[in-house]
């Protein structure tokens, strides 16, 4: 993590995270994968250490750092080799709770943010629906006004990370059925256990098995007016705004995973012998790993640059979309080669690379599929 973009506190944060991953995550990751969840005590411990409130004001218990701190967190958690653990945390810190921190009223911040930072209230973001994924503007969950007191939500959300275990949900719904597409959306804070809100089922996934992903159903779910998050009908823009942070973080996480994969593969090919020597002596393998290491290094630097642009408050949509497309594909390329060089062992459930290859697949799909990201880049080419 030696880079012009980082300051001493970023590096110290990285050191502490690396130790946390070594001591708390790697020894327990397998059992979390089997259980399909991360123990709440682990998240609370991360809260205690200040890892969950890095971006938020000190007044609420945070440390007011910038996008680069999120990148350090995501890269180190990605390096754990347990994507399901990493995403549980990162959805909370960088994909869901930023909606509250950015758009919450003083009362909402006071009420919720300290618990979010302590890891006592875990958050989820509900945008995707059975019939609307990449095309966010097509979402259909409705919020109808119920007098002056609030709103009534009806609809379903799917693929929601932390869906079964969150305490606070930020739910996108259509508040203006007349307005076209993007314009009529708003976001609501829905608390766990709200009447009319149920977790329909937890989904069984290819990877990220330690992370819970659920389908949510809203049937005449009443939400009070105080729980409208941000401005009415501005939901789409709030979502788009936060995508930049979310995608940068996904890119950093992917590059952390890729580094870890190369590291364990290096160890493997240096000890595994075939045809009279270690596999590492084969130029075909050395060259391929060296090139992948170069690409990952390039990916990391692009992530850092995009994060820096964001931290400077500059427009970074083009760079962030590049990050999401490039890193999401690259991590899969790396996993494919690393699994290949593990031979039959790489196909066995007991090898880390098998899990990591499964975990990586989502990177080119979730939070902005590669094709969608490349469209964003294409629109911004040539000027």
């Amino acid at each position: 993590m030696d880079s012009v973009y980082f300051s001493e506190e970023h590096r110290m944060l990285g050191d502490q995270l690396r130790r946390f991953v070594d001591e708390e995550v790697r020894p327990n990751g397998e059992s979390w994968e089997a259980a399909g969840r991360i123990p709440r005590a682990v998240l609370a411990r991360m809260g205690e250490l200040g890892f969950l409130g890095m971006r938020y004001p000190e007044r609420y218990g945070g440390t007011a750092l910038d996008t680069l701190a999120s990148v350090v967190l995501a890269e180190e958690l990605g390096r754990s080799g347990f994507g399901g653990f990493a995403i549980t945390v990162l959805v909370h810190t960088d994909m869901a709770s930023p909606h509250l921190a950015r758009y919450g009223s003083p009362e909402q911040l006071e009420r919720y943010l300290p618990q979010v930072i302590r890891g006592e209230a875990i958050t989820a973001i509900g945008v995707t629906e059975p019939d609307a994924g990449s095309d966010v503007a097509a979402l259909r969950t409705s919020a109808e006004r119920s007098g002056n007191r609030g709103w009534v939500l009806n609809g379903a959300k799917t693929f929601i990370t932390n869906g079964a275990q969150a305490d606070l949900y930020f739910i996108a719904a259509r508040t203006d059925p007349e307005a076209k597409g993007a314009r009529g959306l708003s976001i609501f804070i829905v608390e766990k256990g709200a009447a009319g809100f149920t977790v329909a089922r937890t989904l069984d996934k290819m990877g990220w098995r330690a992370s819970d992903t659920a389908e949510l159903v809203f049937e005449d779910c009443f939400v009070s007016s105080e729980n409208l998050l941000g401005e009415e009908s501005h939901g789409f823009y709030q979502i788009m705004d936060n995508f930049q942070n979310e995608r940068t973080v996904m890119g950093a996480m992917a590059m952390g995973e890729a580094q870890r994969a190369i590291e364990i593969t290096l160890d493997y090919v240096k000890t595994r012998k075939a045809f009279g020597g270690p596999l590492w002596d084969k130029q075909a393998i050395r060259n391929r790993l060296a090139m992948l290491a170069a690409k990952v290094e390039a990916g990391r630097q692009l992530v850092y640059h995009a994060a820096w642009l964001d931290a400077q408050g500059r427009d970074c949509v083009r760079e962030v979309s590049m990050v999401k497309a490039y890193c999401g594909e690259l991590v899969n390329e790396v996993m494919y080669a690393c699994q290949q060089f593990h031979g039959g062992m790489g196909y066995m459930r007991e090898s880390a690379i098998e899990r990591m290859a499964r975990d990586a697949r989502i990177h080119s799909i979730g939070g902005g599929a590669t094709e969608v990201m490349l469209e964003e880049v294409a629109k911004r080419l040539g000027h």
Partner: protein, 249 residues
């Protein structure tokens, strides 16, 4: 009570150490560095003394290159109050470090000095003992427990085959062993607070200490790589090889 905690910047314990191409030493360029694990234990113990109301001021000190500031900063993030960097690019041997520390002790007059029993790079296990000798202070080495009492301090040392309980008068020098405690994480809020804590920089010259090495390193080599194992056909062959080749029975 004022506590001084000397800490060292070493190659991170998770890094696979490589010998430099010319055999002059171990490669430290572009290698991740960290606080010596025994020094972390020393800082932790000092912070616990402060938390228990037994110590008022904790000073971390490091001797070496500018980057030792990072190590000091970590000590500050763990809970020390201020730092001192004795800045020099010279390769420092334990005796030189002990002399530098003595000079600082003469200025600061701490009541207790807590060091790691050794650093994981040189494995010398000398600095604490030399410092105690130079100061003429009592010392307790390899401690696994420390209690501060009115009369001084009660310590438990790890020795071959058991534990040794001692009482020593303060001021004293103690060096800590692995089992004393488990060092805490530096939480992010504490990392931010550490930025505001002072680090004073002084030079060996200003302390009037000659740090020239007394030992000449002739060559550093990698440990020999392990030979591949063999399979024996019978117990007889095994015994024969153990007796006649390995000569262990």
């Amino acid at each position: 009570m004022k506590v001084l905690i000397p800490i060292k910047r070493v190659i991170d314990a998770n890094v696979k150490v490589r010998v430099r191409g010319d055999g002059s030493g171990v490669e430290t360029q572009n290698v991740k560095m960290a606080m010596n694990p025994f020094c972390e234990i020393a800082v932790e113990e000092a912070v616990r003394l402060k938390e228990a109301g037994l110590a008022e001021e904790l000073i971390v000190i490091s001797c070496g290159v500018t980057q030792c500031q990072e190590t000091l900063r970590t000590g500050l993030a763990m809970g020390a109050d201020r730092g001192i960097l004795v800045e020099t690019d010279a390769e420092l041997e334990p005796l030189a470090v002990a002399k530098l520390l003595k000079a600082v002790v003469d200025k600061e007059s701490p009541d207790l000095i807590i060091l790691g029993k050794q650093s994981v790079d040189g494995d010398n296990n000398q600095t604490g003992q030399m410092l105690a000798a130079l100061l003429g202070w009592p010392q307790g080495t390899f401690i696994s427990k420390i209690e501060i009492k009115d009369s001084g301090s009660a310590i438990t040392r790890e020795v071959d085959g058991g534990l040794e309980m001692l009482e020593i008068k303060l001021p004293a020098v103690v060096t800590v062993d692995l089992r004393l405690n488990e060092p805490r994480y530096a939480s992010l809020p504490n990392i931010m607070k550490a930025k505001k804590k002072p680090i004073e920089t002084i030079s060996p010259d200003a302390l009037g200490v000659d740090v020239a090495p007394r030992v000449e390193i002739l060559e550093v080599t990698e440990p020999p790589s392990r030979q591949a194992g063999i399979k024996v056909e019978s117990v007889g062959e095994l015994v024969d090889k153990l007796r006649n080749e390995a000569k262990v029975i």
